[in-house]
């Protein structure tokens, strides 16, 4: 249920971009999905196959690039992946802060067929 409306949005954006470029078919969609975006690639793919039927996106291959979430230590100025039950910087041991790395959720590019 959760991925359904966002998948509709992916098809809408890809279709609009394809039409702007006079394309007749979308063959490939490159998506960037952060670990903390809350969306699961496989689930998007399942809805995509259903919702895209009869649209310019039907049959397109979804390529999903997953991004791991990273924290930033303001003292050491490094980014790192956190350990379970901890937010500590691996260098100094102080708690860092969440960053936007891992929250991505966007269409990077599409490949289209043009006559």
């Amino acid at each position: 249920m959760h991925e359904y409306p966002v998948t509709e949005q992916i098809i809408k954006i890809a279709s609009e971009k394809a039409k702007e470029n006079n394309a007749i078919k979308v063959c490939h969609i490159a998506l960037v999905v952060g670990e903390h975006s809350g969306f699961i690639g496989e689930s998007i793919q399942m809805y995509f196959d259903i919702i895209s039927r009869g649209t310019i996106c039907e049959g397109a291959i979804l390529e999903i690039e997953n991004i791991k979430a990273k924290w930033k230590c303001p003292l050491c100025d490094i980014t790192y992946m956190r350990q379970p039950y901890s937010f500590a910087c691996p260098k100094c041991g102080q708690d860092g802060l969440p960053t936007n790395i891992g929250k991505e959720f966007y269409i990077k590019s599409i490949e289209v067929e043009v006559p």
């Binding site: 992916i10 954006i13 890809a14 903390h36 959720f105 966007y106 590019s109």
Partner: protein, 216 residues
């Protein structure tokens, strides 16, 4: 003969949702309405906290949009207390999004400046991902849920502007580990204040209300 062309897009999938959320926020701002997105698990005490805050601010006008998968139990409860409320039933969807909130916000006659609570679907996951037109996000977490929640559901704690720890009278019965809970939040969010409350007695809500008055 057809050719394959690559088109760079780099477009956020939330863009349309965020545009509508901003529209709602700005239109409510014009009539002096401050919007609070209330998030939390089912049974955390979202409605009870809303009622306590409303009771503690008699000078203010309040409006409530209640989000639930099914039923209008909470809306009936609020209306019986004389609170202007409307119900959204998502029929399965796990969170509110900007388009549905915009539609229902138009159904409440917000004739005076005040505060609009939008009680999101009881869920500690998806509501944190969608802007719905709020000025602030209020996270309600109860002691009975356990002190490990910031570690298990980090995004909700990270995005919150204010956190209410409810059912504080149950702490001793559920072995609530205060330090572990606060340490988890600190690793995710260094600015949101944490208020300990008890909706049954109204304890702790005075401080919550003071914070809202200062930050609206």
């Amino acid at each position: 003969m057809t050719n394959i062309e690559k088109i760079d897009v780099v477009q956020d999938i939330y863009e349309e949702n965020d545009r509508i959320a901003l529209e709602t926020k700005e239109s409510l701002e014009k009539v002096g309405v401050f919007v609070i997105n209330v998030m939390g698990s089912p049974g955390a005490g979202k409605t009870s906290s809303i009622i306590n805050i409303i009771r503690s601010m008699p000078e203010e006008s309040f409006y409530v949009i209640e989000g639930d998968i099914e039923s209008d139990i909470d809306t009936i409860k609020l209306k019986e207390l004389g609170i202007n409320a409307v119900q959204i039933n998502t029929n399965g969807a796990c969170h509110l999004d900007a388009p549905i909130v915009q539609k229902y916000a138009k159904k409440i006659d917000m004739d005076k400046p005040g505060i609009l609570f939008i009680e999101n679907i009881g869920n500690l996951v998806c509501p944190a991902e969608f802007r719905i037109g709020e000025h602030i996000k209020m996270l309600i977490c109860s002691t009975a849920e356990g002190s490990d929640k910031p570690y298990k559901y980090p995004l909700a704690f990270e995005k919150a502007n204010i956190i209410l720890l409810t059912k504080c009278d149950l702490k001793e019965f559920v072995d609530f580990d205060d330090d572990f809970f606060r340490k988890g939040i600190k690793g995710l969010n260094k600015t949101a204040p944490i208020f300990e409350v008890n909706a049954k007695t109204g304890e702790g809500f005075k401080e919550v209300v003071e914070w809202i008055r200062k930050n609206r």
